[in-house]
Amino acid sequence: MKAPLWTFVIVCALAVSGRALDLNGNQQSDVWEMIFGASGLPAAGDADGDGWSNALESAAGTNPRDGASFPGLHLTTDGVSLFAGWTGLAGKKYTLETKPALGAGTWTALGPDMLGEGGPTELQLAPGGAPTGFFRLRAADVDSDGDGISDWEERALGFDAARTRTERSDTLDSARIPAGLTAANTITVGMYDDTCSERWPDPAVLVVRRAGGLQPLTVNVAFSGTATRGPDYTTSSTGNVVTLGPGQREAFVEIQPVADANDGEPTETITLTVLAGAGYSVGAQNAGTVSLFNETAASGPSRKEAARFLIQAAFGPDQDTNGNHIPENVEELMGTTFGAWIDDQFARPIGLLRPMVQWQAAQPGSAEIYNDTKQNAWWGRAMGVPKLRPDAAASQLPDPLRQRVGFALSQIYVISDRMETLATNPEGMAAYYDMLLTRAFGNFRDLLYDVSVHPCMGLYLSHLGNRKPDPVAKTFPDENYAREVMQLFSIGLWMLNPDGSRQLDAQGQPIPTYSNANITEFARVFTGLSHWDSDFGGYSTDFTKPMIAFDEEHDLGPKTLLLGTTTPQRTAHNLPNSPYATLLDVDAAIDNLFNHPNAGPFLARQLIQRLITSNPSPAYIGRVSAKFANNGAGVRGDMQAVVKQILLDPEARDGVALTNPTFGKLREPFLKCVNFARAFNAASQEGWYYLDAFNIDHVEEPLKSPSVFNFYLPAYAPPGALTQAGLVAPELQIINASSGVKAPNYFFNAIEGGLHRWGTAQPERVVKLNLTTEMLLNAGVVPPDEHYPPGLPNPDPDLLIRRLDLALTGGTLAPRNFQLIREAMLRIFPGGYDWHIRRLQLGIYLITTSADFAVQR
């Protein structure tokens, strides 16, 4: 290829273009002057002697006092074409101009203006142009919102260049910015997170806060208190200053605890105090103190650690009622250890759903056909009401771990009232759910067996009334359950290693666990089962008792199961004490699946995904499946050992996960509602939970999956960063443009109105949040109605947001999120008569919409 015979000369001249703020009329941007401390420079001068005049550097947004700061224009070639390149700043636009010779002649623009993107930009120069040329780059300002402040200026100050009112402020940017260039600054100190603990890496967060101006500031601070900087803690800021950039209102100082071997220390304090300095005055709130808790290897978890655990293992923190702003169940957990808490949960009585469903059915006039009574009951158990039914004589302890694991199991062993036969028999479905709750802490073999012979499952996956083959009528056994019991309930599609990875054959291909021939064999196993109280395949209204065997409808022939197991020719039940052939075959099939090497890793991955993280490491799965294989006492399938390992595993517990970009899971959308209800002890006057229809907004609710494949698939990966990293995020499958708006709207309405989707005409049944304490923190008083008494104070919302943060996100709210929520709340005062309600609603709403609430880490 012939190289182009061109020569290029570059003239890096810049032409100034207007539209920047220039109140002092010196042809240089006022904002630029402030940022670079460049006021008073002559436009034509060149303070850093880099050949770029001060005015040109202003137009380009570069530093007039740094000889290396200017928009360099350079030529490169890839061997074929020539490219002109430069580094463009966001908010500026650039035009490449050319003319054939210096001196006379006009500069011609090469192509349209190009917007800077904060990085290198290149233009391919047209082949076949003039063989020699001179080029220059012209930088100019853009003013997208036409308010007289350039985009570069607005961006440099943290303003919104596309709107005349940043954050929809009542004051125009064109007024705020000029005023802010010279306004006096007042510095105060706030706290976004007032505790940290030696053995938990989540930092405490202090805030250096500025009111008034937009200037860059260096604030002098001092750290004091009983803890020593360095040995006891480190700070995210360096030295004894905190810097605030142009326009920055808050700087966060993170206090990172350092664990030490001294287990005898008391709780220590760290105080940040703002000292006098240039460019600001110090406000009344000039210091903030956070606590650093001593922790020993034997001590219970800290509050944030405990809250995180309850989000994983239960339904999240509940509401503080003793005034220390630590949720009661978090405090309870802080007083024990995770292991002891789990053991206690194992020992608690089972919170069955069926008694409540039965109670409701017996209430005159209260059994609305559209009300999902089993979900009402579900909510009672999740909220931990003391009685299984309102008229029960005895109370019992709540069992959140069992309820949470049971809900996870209900998403693996799926039945759904999208099947009308099931929807109209809530007691049967409650009985099925109670079976899951019972077996959740039992043995997996019993779980799989009970699932397989439950009439609700028999109806849902159609093996109830499944007949042996009939060669005359040309009918064959139903294969539905045979397939799903393997694919979804026990072993999955591919042979697995104990760590959940796929086994590969000699060609490197995954190995199927079964063939269609296996399915036809298992289909023959699951013949001869039907309702206990009617003829084979007949009608029943009692879905609460296991299916029974009808050996005359069962295929008695030998069957080939998996991994070489076979069953013999059976003899039909013929004597009072002889066994049922049907049940012998079902037993054999369940044993076959239970003992399959896939059973442990297959269950482990799914339970970890429901409770802890979407992408567990193979080692984590391996540790859980090892417990499945042997609980330490030689027992296979011990669910307690499995659950305990999932929750206590280092991968679940180690605080390093907090900063791991791939750890965690999207909270299940429905469970967000439950977390929300718990965090405010939602209740009705009648004491029970007339709640259902959550799937409309959240695409999820108990026992209402659209199919046996649950609400989302374990391997779902949304397009973009997660897929590119080879990761999955099952719950994201039900977050889309529709549900992604309807779910926030639900919370918006539920904060004030109640948790019902449709509402209810009976006020005594309206489930509402208890917001008394929150309102007191929000407004200083709890007004009796929606009218706020005039003349009362406007309390700082920090304490309220800290309380909400711990209860809803386990204390993981990003400081920047905290700031924007705080600032939004402060804008409400002193709005309309109901400003106090609106302000609290806004504070809670903005946490429920945050990514911090959406993802448990």
Binding site: R467, Q487, G537, A824
Partner: protein, 482 residues
Amino acid sequence: MKTRRQFLGQASCAAVSSIPILSTLLNLRLAGSVAAVTAPTAGQYRALVCIFQSGGNDSFNMLTPYSGASATAASAFAEYTASRSDLALGQAQLTEIHPTNTPGRTFGVHGGMPQLAALFESGNAAFVANVGTLIEPVLNRTQVAQATKRLPLGLYSHSDQIEQWQTSVPHSRSGVGWAGKMADLIKSVNATQTVSMNISTDGSNVWQTGVTDAEYAVDSGNDNDPTGGAVALSGYAQDYAANAFVDATSGAIDSQLALEYTNLLQQTFQKKRRGARDAYALYSTATAGALPGNVVFPNTSVGRQLQQVAKAIAGRTALGAVRQTFFVNRGGWDHHSNTLALQAAMLPEIDAALGAFWTQLGLLGVQPNVTIFSASDFGRTLTSNSQGSDHAWGGNAYVVGGSVLGRKIYGSYPSLAVNPDSGPEVNPLDTGRGRLIPTTSCDQFFAEMALWLGVPTSSLPLILPNIGNFYAGSGAPLGFLA
């Protein structure tokens, strides 16, 4: 020419090559070609509407033999009746149709679908017979039994077959759908990408998931409130409202959505919500007008969904769309039991919605611009399990549209004979229990529609990687679209 060096194609190439799921040779080919592909010229508006019947529609009762002989029986209908035993429909339960390309034979459409039958007879609808997932042609059951041909993964399994109907990648598990890939390739013909070229009335789905972007999901309402559409975010206003609460809320929401997270789950969640906010403003305006003609859509799941589709089509200009796909889903077809009654209840629901939609398309003047097709996990066993039918393979699909060369059955309607347990083979396509090997591949079916939508022939393998095993690249893959 002065072009940006880092043009779109290269950017997406870089993105693609780092995706493990696409790291096969095939998809590297895809990546290379995406960069080189030029978008089709816009031309007139065209849209594809997929009516997915998830669960596995028993489609050999949707399209049955009626009169004439099959390859294996003098009376194809008697053969049908014998194979289907207690699942067989009588002729009184069928509407007879008269294809112009099946000399000597007529067929039956399920009696619950009179409007589809009428559309067929009037030349606006066609069927594609015995279509299913295939990697390469499979001629007979021996090739299946001896595995001399490569077979789709997870045959007869819902999750796999639903996925493969939506990806047309039966040889591996992929979460990228063929409409998503089409959008990656041709979406630039649309003036704006704020609202995706791919719109779903049933939430997230594989079919419309591309490498970098997913569907835009709109709400289709519910029984009590069938309105649906784009959903507004409570408390949020696009512009300054001079209301402290609304302005504080809206400003905070925008600031919140601008936050960047290092955790990939949080990052993705933010991206989804940002997309929803941006799309809402455009979509709600574009679809705000009333549809012409007061067409009454049935208040059923599929009726409400198709009404939303009609609104989006009516708003196509404002949406900047000259190409669109729509995903409509009606689940509940897994009729292992009670097949006859359930189909008799559910097929009319599809039919009534389809009829209303067709009328609405006429009033919008876009019947030639829209092609509707059905899809389902699989066909079902011809034989009965005494209550219903089980999972199988090939099945029948319908296509409806003004550009459809109708009143024909495309592909080959198979013999419905079932092989006896012993004795000579009567139907080489029957792999057992009347699970029929497809005689037309999904690739052929989809290629016809992809070409119609504007995908260049040379780019078909990017979307349908196995198409080369079924289609040489000249003429039409099946010929049902003009």
